[in-house]
Symmetry: C3
Subunit: 137 residues, 3 copies
């Protein structure tokens, strides 16, 4: 069994952004040399998500509106008693998820026709990381 | 390390359906010959989910009602400007999740007493796929 | 490839509790002797979650309030026609997720600075289990 590890770094300009990272993840598989296995892609921070869905700008707006409705940025959060102001981001990240696990087949992401991997930032404007771990053969 | 791959195909009659796929997934493990490892089961389409919960008809109605309340089929979605009409399905799938990863122990799904794997379709009535990938020994 | 399996047992005093299990999971990795691989941590019951986020008491209250707003304990659920009273718990668990998959690097959880693994109980006061499965080398 082989394993391979890579960190991807991001610094968004906005508090909230959706970034398609499929190409970067694909490159990690190629660097790993692994042909058959699993790849884990996870946010290393707790106010960001990694998820898989369509790369369509209207849909990204729908996600933004949906998440803001469920956990508005300006609402009151117990978490803010610590001095933080990102209670909404901790909830948004739970809805969208921390990680994805994808099959690797023939040295590539084993994807359906529209699957794309996104890094979703809910409390950005600072350097944050995504972990990519590959295991297989 | 061994690996094994199988696609499961579905075409639902309704736009939204919940299908228990536990038996099919179990059969893939048997076909793989893998005794100890992990199995990934994921929707290959972005308007469907794979998740684990109880196979109880009332609960499935509760999920349907809950998801329709959060993301109604008939609401306005930016995504519909593309000509699509499934904005709700992209959101419902995010709530229920894309994939499950299950332990394989002694050649079988390592499950608690009530765990069942479901394919949740939110934009059906056409042929769509679930990917099953097994790794282990 | 090596694999290792351990069950963690919990019995909460309250119906709903959040328990930080990071130390227990770390110990399983040490017991496994695995240096590089993946670890799966999942609730074996369908009214509980395993998720990763911050260990901050205000945030846990925010999660509790958020989940209770989306799926109130005292609402009507079709699932209750079976005699059960935990329809809310089946929904809360779907929002927070069943499982996490974490990378193991150099024999430890490969975590960002604030990542902590939680067992979230939504229908407690009885003995319930979490499964930990490690694969790697």
């Amino acid at each position: 069994m082989k394993s391979y590890r890579k960190e991807l770094w991001f610094q968004t300009k906005l508090r909230r952004e959706f970034i398609n990272i499929t190409t970067e993840v694909d490159r990690v598989i190629q660097d790993s040399g692994i042909q058959e296995g699993l790849i884990l892609v996870n946010a290393m921070h707790i106010t960001a998500s990694v998820y898989i869905n369509d790369d369509e700008s209207g849909l990204l707006k729908d996600y933004e509106r949906f998440l803001e409705r469920l956990a508005p940025q300006d609402a009151d959060y117990h978490h803010h008693l610590t001095g933080e102001d990102n209670g909404d981001a901790h909830i948004k990240r739970q809805i969208m998820g921390r990680e994805v696990v994808v099959a690797i087949t023939n040295g590539a992401l084993d994807f359906g026709p529209w699957e794309q991997i996104f890094y979703a930032e809910f409390d950005g404007r600072r350097r944050k990381r995504v972990l990519v771990k590959v295991i297989g053969e």
